[in-house]
């Protein structure tokens, strides 16, 4: 901004509180900026830019070149018409507490009116700020918040101090945080606890530097970079790597004011534990990072971030302390592991009988039985041995009652896989159990093996259908059982494995297992699945219109998933073909005629070939019959979809000639209707392949 003058300056606001949970900090920065800028905009106060900071205790915003004086505001009130009756004029004067001479008469496009205008004097920012701070403090929404002592105000953790400076000068004022409880604005904040100092801020431009000198890095990106840089300084020379974990990094950034990256050792005797156990114990309980070597194996070392400046003596002490804690944690994990491997799958399965899956859906044991019953039906489609599939389903949930998974629920499946292997179950079954919670989201990998995919699908389809049958399908934004994600995962497996299995075939067995014969549940289930299929296919082929056209084909529920995919792929490919474009426009023309004739009778009416008057009618009829035969022969053949489209295109000429030379609206009703029936039959036949009207030109 060029025309800067004395009426502008910088502002600093800092909320100093007890340690705010790491997960809330970033969002609190955004809220602070939104609430503050909103309050300023409402008051017509301009500013140039701002920067926000957040950490465990300091949450702040610096606003650059903010207007220090509010502009005067002119408020104009419109009164009655100039020639209105006296009662109306008096009413206007009275309600605004005015004399007639305080009004003016102004011409508008609707005539002359009384007006009263008033100048509201702009205020100085120091007068406005207490109100603004009050709005911000009371406008804040924390995911979880608390009162403290005698406050009514809720904050994530007790708010202890508010710094407010304008042009480096303290602003007088306070905010009310409870009955007779106030927080005064100050010009000081606090250092890292190791320094334990009250710091007076004399210059806003020194704020960041001043705090860094007292071991508080305000900027979370700076803290993050320091962690990353210090980490590579420590690891690179030994050719080691961190097991990347962005959410852990973000959390750690919120736990420290001055990051100090340190490395500790793991006692060798624990390295025989599965790596997931090691890294989960470290991450969940201790917020440690795992370290891997060149071969991607876990090193017997861990990396953690202390909240301190470097100090050799202290660092050694802190490392020793953390090593001791980890040792205790891993002893615990080891204890669970040893107990688990001396336990038996049979015992666990027995225990599963007492673990409720969900009210109305039986125990977890019941769930595995349902999965086992279905495994036989699906094994062939997945190309796996049905004995293996059955064995995998019956072992799949046992680990849920193992000690390790009770302690670390996120290790479900993973531990089951390890234990199955240790207990000499086949490699395939172990791997399948290990993988069967995948894919956990749209971007997650599928299970590595077909058996794993089958197990995952069985688990998920049982859950999905089960909840549908007890009336718990997702509605609006509510999806407490994550059924949508579940549906996506099922469809991802079906599509990626190119399975020769239709939606009917996928949903019938679980409906039977859940003893459900309701038509409406089946319909809503199929629609739900089609919706997920639409999303997954659109992602894959990038043509939502083509996907829609295929999914709206007749009997789509009976079409194998691999066929649907290949049809979408073929049509997408042909959308650039000129002949296909002609076919499309012909199809749409027929569609429109049928629509405008309101000829929507769905039953297939017989065409009467005896009353054909033209060769064009006959040609279409013949083409139609031969296409019908091709459809019969090759409609379900995944590799023939291109061929089918080509034979569609071959009809172009006869359709065009029909439109050129034949008038549908024949004077004789029987001929007119016969022609419509011909078109309708043609249309119906096309719909068996794809609902082409969805495809955009």
């Amino acid at each position: 901004m060029n025309n800067m003058n004395l009426s502008r300056g910088n502002l600093l606001l800092e909320f100093f509180s007890e340690e705010i949970p790491a997960r809330m900090q970033l969002n609190s920065e955004r809220q602070l900026e939104n609430l503050f800028t909103k309050s300023l905009t409402q008051r017509n106060m301009a500013f140039e830019s701002f920067k926000t900071y957040s950490g465990p205790r300091h949450l702040s915003i610096v606003i650059k070149n903010i207007e220090l004086e509010q502009k005067d505001q002119k408020i104009e009130r419109k009164g009655p018409r100039f020639d209105a009756n006296q009662k109306a004029i008096d009413g206007f004067l009275k309600s605004n507490n005015l004399n007639l001479n305080e009004t003016i008469i102004k011409e508008t496009k609707n005539g002359k009116f009384y007006f009263h205008s008033q100048i509201i004097k702009g205020q100085n920012i120091n007068e406005i700020l207490p109100d603004i701070i009050d709005e911000i403090v009371n406008g804040f929404i924390w995911p979880k918040s608390q009162r403290w002592a005698n406050t009514d105000l809720k904050w994530a953790r007790p708010l202890r101090n508010i710094v407010l400076l304008v042009n480096d000068n303290p602003v007088k004022g306070k905010v009310r945080i409870g009955k007779d409880v106030f927080l005064n604005f100050t010009n000081f904040t606090f250092s890292h606890r190791h320094n334990d100092k009250k710091i007076i801020i004399n210059k806003i431009e020194n704020y960041e530097k001043l705090l860094e000198d007292h071991n508080v890095i305000l900027d979370r990106n700076k803290r993050s970079h320091k962690i990353i840089n210090d980490t590579s300084n420590l690891l690179d020379k030994e050719k080691l790597k961190l097991l990347i974990d962005k959410s852990l990094l973000e959390e750690v950034v919120g736990l420290v004011e001055f990051p100090n990256v340190l490395i500790g050792s793991i006692s060798k005797k624990f390295m025989k534990l599965p790596r997931e156990v090691l890294s989960t114990t470290m991450r969940v309980h201790q917020k440690y990072f795992s370290i891997t070597n060149k071969e991607d194996n876990l090193e017997s070392k861990f990396l953690f971030v202390a909240n301190s400046i470097k100090n050799k003596k202290r660092d050694i002490r802190v490392i020793k302390g953390n090593e001791r804690v980890l040792k205790a944690r891993l002893s615990d994990a080891n204890y669970f592991f040893e107990n688990d491997i001396s336990n038996r799958f049979e015992n666990w399965n027995e225990k599963l009988k007492d673990v409720l899956f969900y009210e109305g859906l039986g125990s977890l044991h019941d769930k595995t039985i349902r999965m086992a019953n279905m495994s036989n039906i699906f094994a062939k489609a997945f190309g796996v041995k049905s004995e293996l599939a059955k064995q995998a389903t019956l072992l799949s949930k046992a680990d849920l009652v193992s000690e390790m998974v009770t302690e670390f629920p996120e290790l479900q499946g993973i531990m089951g896989g390890h234990y199955a292997k240790i207990k000499n179950k086949s490699e395939e079954v172990s791997k399948a159990i290990y993988d069967h919670y995948k894919p956990k989201g749209v971007s997650d990998d599928l299970p590595e093996t077909k058996l794993g995919s089958l197990l995952s699908m069985l688990d998920k389809i049982d859950t999905l259908v089960g909840f549908f049958t007890i009336g718990k399908k997702p509605t609006g934004s509510k999806d407490p059982f994550a059924l949508r994600r579940n549906g996506f995962s099922i469809v991802q497996i079906l599509v990626n494995l190119k399975l020769n299995i239709s939606l009917n075939e996928v949903t019938n067995p679980p409906l039977k297992e859940h003893v459900c014969s309701s038509k409406s549940i089946k319909i809503s289930l199929i629609n739900f699945m089609i919706d997920k299929l639409k999303f997954v296919l659109s992602n894959q082929y990038n043509r939502i219109d083509v996907v829609d056209s295929v999914l709206n084909a007749k009997i789509v529920n009976d079409l194998p998933i691999n066929l649907i995919s290949s049809r979408v792929e073929s049509i997408s490919k042909f959308t650039k073909n000129n002949d296909f474009k002609i076919f499309l426009s012909n199809f749409k023309r027929i569609n429109n005629i049928l629509k405008s004739e309101k000829f929507s009778n769905d039953t297939e009416l017989q065409v009467n070939i005896k009353i054909f008057e033209t060769i064009e009618e006959k040609n279409i009829y013949n083409h139609m019959n031969s296409f019908s035969i091709v459809m019969e022969e090759k409609g379900f053949c995944v590799k023939s979809q291109d061929v089918l489209i080509k034979s569609l295109i071959k009809m172009n000429q006869s359709i065009s000639l029909f439109f050129d030379n034949v008038i549908v609206n024949h004077e004789h009703d029987n001929i007119r209707i016969n022609r419509l029936i011909l078109l309708k039959n043609f249309h119906n036949l096309m719909l068996k392949f794809s609902s082409f009207d969805f495809i955009e030109d």
Partner: protein, 295 residues
């Protein structure tokens, strides 16, 4: 200030530190509890009638499922907490806590102290609060909670609760890895000095066996119902309810539930209903304590 860091010295140091902060020094509640919070000096007192209440006490705690037959160096089914409850929560409570660490020989400036989010909830007490677990060099040594609700009622003014895990803290200060090696009294072995193991190892072994294998579950189920009935009866006379004895029954029922849980005889679906039954006892006892049973 600390002269030695024996287990008992840590306790007496904590006691004198918090006495100096104006706390009444209480003794443990004389019934089995799962946590120091259960002491009526915390649960009932924060609901009134005094707007100011400061208390500190040691509380032995029992968590039957944590028993490890004396074989795990960190887990015990019986252990000690040091509990500080101050209402209203003071402005400098975090600093007071850090000073108390210094007072028992743990200078916060020599360590990496962290306040890590930990929201506390006790379903059986209908109580909840926000706070932290406090880490010292990665070890959780204390819990810190701002009480928001107890028995389902708002705590006003808000109280701050500090719970020191005494064994963990002492292990940290004495730099040892096995709880049974803790120096209890600061007296040399050859002079008859005692370790934690000398005093408690046998108890851990026997009670683990009792908790997991030998308790009479039929009798326990009956005791639970008896406690529940007695709690109700004690509150029957709505004008003159006996809040403290009723709450005593609630505490008993809660421990019996934990014992049954350790035997694995409460199924997942029953579990919730047992918790609810204890919560109802806690809630009506709290109501009686506040003189609001009639409302």
């Amino acid at each position: 200030m600390y002269e030695n860091n024996s287990f008992q010295k840590i306790i007496t140091n904590l006691q004198s530190f918090w006495i100096d902060q104006g706390c009444v020094l209480l003794q443990p509640y004389d019934s089995e509890v799962g946590a120091g919070t259960f002491h009526p000096a915390t649960v009932l007192r924060v609901l009134g009638p005094d707007p100011i209440w400061k208390a500190a006490y040691v509380q032995p705690c029992r968590r039957p499922t944590d028993g490890r037959y004396g074989e795990n160096p960190n887990r015990l089914q019986h252990y000690y907490q040091f509990q500080v409850i101050i209402q209203p929560s003071p402005e400098d409570i975090q600093n007071l806590y850090l000073e108390s660490l210094n007072f028992i020989g743990l200078n916060p400036k020599d360590h990496d102290i962290r306040f890590v989010e930990d929201d506390w909830e006790s379903p059986t007490l209908g109580a909840s609060g926000l706070g932290w677990e406090i880490w010292c060099d990665g070890m959780e040594i204390s819990q810190f909670t701002y009480f928001q609700q107890v028995g389902g009622f708002d705590v006003k003014p808000v109280a701050s609760e500090i719970t020191y895990g005494l064994e963990r803290l002492a292990m940290f200060i004495q730099k040892i890895e096995n709880v049974y090696d803790l120096d209890w009294d600061g007296v040399a072995k050859n002079m008859g000095g005692k370790t934690y193991g000398d005093i408690f190892l046998q108890q851990e072994k026997e009670f683990s066996k009792y908790n997991f294998e030998k308790s009479d579950t039929c009798s326990l189920f009956k005791q639970f119902s008896d406690a529940e009935t007695e709690c109700k009866n004690l509150l029957n006379d709505k004008k003159n309810p006996l809040a403290l004895p009723a709450y005593h029954q609630c505490i008993k029922a809660s421990h019996i539930f934990n014992l049954l849980d350790a035997r694995g005889v409460i199924s997942v679906s029953e579990r919730q209903s047992y918790i609810l039954r204890v919560r109802n006892m806690a809630r009506s006892s709290c109501l009686a304590w506040m003189g609001k049973l009639n409302e």
